[in-house]
Symmetry: C2
Subunit: 364 residues, 2 copies
């Protein structure tokens, strides 16, 4: 069933993460990659909204470099729904820009802020959770979509739940006591055991007027820039105004800039979404099908001898990759770069990227 | 100092070993590869004879497929010194063919049978040992060059030494009690500890008339074919006679066919030659220079993070190979094939080659 006419989905698709290097590149970041099949993570994120949002009510915020490729991947989304950040200035400005665009479209707009590079195994359930969040947002709450934690992750931020405020579509919603930064393992384990913390998924739903009030109150400098953009929204000079003002924005995330001190924030901690942020090579082991030895082969041919729990990502169909005697290894072959990495050290890819940045742009 | 005019070196260069696959290929076998620097193992084997044999007294026995490439690698060796086996029929026929060629050149010819794909760290000493072996061979002995074992290898054949027979150039020579096939580790350790076993290097020195007597006595069928070839040696039909008769030869090694039951066989067990048969990827760790972490990078760029005792063989200068968290791994990248192999399982490369043979010639 379609969402109400004043409900919109805003997909944040401007990221340039390096955690899946060497596959993810500056010119071809993670959301554009077909990591788990034929469709890119961005396409999967759009497909997931089928049946609840028409393409006209899906906005995509991205950077200029990526816009053309994203449009080509999802041609059903109208061109004018792609909003361009001239420079990356953090998620606060992304949300602010989308709010300006939506306020110009519908005075009672309600917006979901969604990610472009996550996977939900249970997409029907994701749509139910989203529907509940819109119900809550319509009433004026700032809704954060939480993920009930399944292991003591040190890689995510957490949200401490407070009092139960209501049920929406049979889902429990809680006031938010506080946001917690990425913890160490001990603290993560304590939060997991306490049962009243959810992972911060980075996805939110709120009325545009409500979030604009928060910008007004908490980020006046950004708000004055956004107001200037808003005044020129339906004018020919809109783009030049954005180009001129955007560099003045101080980079800030929506979490730090708004959510931590916002009023009437609630969390809907979802269980069993099968959520995966595909945040590392290790994370891919949870979403790609493995053979009996736990090996995962993507792309070209893989011949495995005494090999277990090993992911081989081979972008060249004619290339043969042979592994002998390996356990828990990730092999990624992109043609110009070959990476061979112990699975539990995949996060060190970032150090490699830092190292390569020192010597120029090659391989990045 | 040059060897006597009747002394010849015969390099057996027809092998097509698969233990260094995927670098070693049917069309580009191990001896042709520059595994330890700019020069191929074949070139190194020829260079090693500088100053003791003129190129005119170096013969190369190989298969037709490889002859042109080997000639191109060592153009100083006269074309007529390349003897071609129409088909591989084992080292007995190789030695027999070389003996026929040398008997036609010099009635008192003495020949060293040498390998094309081994490395000697101490080449001066190798030349001394060879000189001693020629002295012994001149007197009528069949001389096997032994290598004093340095570890309980299960990969080589052994030679049990008998009585001391003489010294040649200050090197001790012993009668040969028997040849021993590749042993298990327990037996290898016993032989190592006993002190009277040497590894069979596959290199021999003998008078041509002496070895021909042994062929006569022990391999009459092969001898009759060799005699027929010998009769036609200086005739225009030589090649067509070889082509016609060669397929009838029963494949046999010189060790089984001749040496085990030959008369007056002696062994000179050399110590400290720094001999390496480059018989596996693991063997390369002993001959290539490593950095402080024990890593060896050959070819293109290698960026190592928390990586130790790892060999990266990269045939593409522009390609970056990144390793993270690896210990004791061999990475070989040939463009069409990438192999990632735990170092101590490098011998399983043969299984991969067997597997690939089932599906055709690609990658072989």
């Amino acid at each position: 069933m379609m969402m109400n006419d004043n409900y919109y989905a805003v997909i944040m698709a401007g990221g340039g993460g390096t955690r899946l290097w060497p596959l993810s590149r500056v010119a071809n970041p993670k959301q554009m990659l077909p990591l788990v099949g034929e469709r890119s993570l961005f396409q999967i994120s759009v497909d997931r909204l089928d049946g609840i949002f028409t393409p006209e009510r899906i906005l995509v915020v991205t950077v200029a470099d990526q816009a053309a490729k994203l449009q080509a991947q999802c041609p059903q989304i109208p061109v004018e729904n792609f909003l361009l950040e001239p420079l990356p200035r953090g998620t606060a400005s992304v949300v602010g820009l989308a709010a300006v665009a939506l306020a110009a479209r519908h005075p009672q707009a309600v917006m979901a802020v969604l990610t472009a590079d996550h996977i939900f195994k249970y997409e029907d359930y994701f749509r139910s959770v989203l529907r509940a969040a819109f119900d809550a947002a319509q009433q004026g709450h700032l809704v954060t979509l939480g993920i009930a934690p399944t292991f003591p992750s040190t890689g995510y931020g957490y949200i401490q739940q407070g009092d139960r405020v209501a049920n929406y579509q049979d889902l429990k919603a809680y006031s938010v006591r506080r946001f917690v930064e990425k913890p160490d393992e001990l603290r993560a384990r304590q939060m997991l055991e306490s049962g009243d913390f959810a992972w911060n998924s980075g996805m939110f739903v709120w009325r545009v007027d409500r979030i604009q009030d928060e910008f007004d109150r908490q980020m006046p400098a950004l708000t004055s820039i956004l107001n200037e953009i808003s005044k020129n929204w339906n004018q020919p000079q809109r783009e030049s105004v954005i180009q001129r003002l955007w560099p003045q924005i101080h980079p800030e995330t929506i979490d730090y800039g708004i959510m931590e001190n916002a009023q009437d924030v609630i969390v809907i901690p979802a269980r069993g979404l099968g959520w995966n942020d595909v945040g590392s090579w290790e994370a891919l082991f949870d979403v790609l099908p493995a053979d009996e030895q736990g090996n995962i082969a993507v792309g070209g041919r893989h011949l495995a001898l005494d090999t277990r729990q090993t992911l081989v990502f081979n972008t060249h169909p004619e290339r043969l990759i042979v592994t002998i005697g390996l356990d828990d290894v990730v092999v990624v072959d992109t043609g110009d770069v070959l990476m061979v990495c112990k699975k539990d050290q995949a996060q060190k890819v970032r150090q490699v990227v830092q190292e390569l940045k020192k010597t120029g742009r090659q391989y990045l």
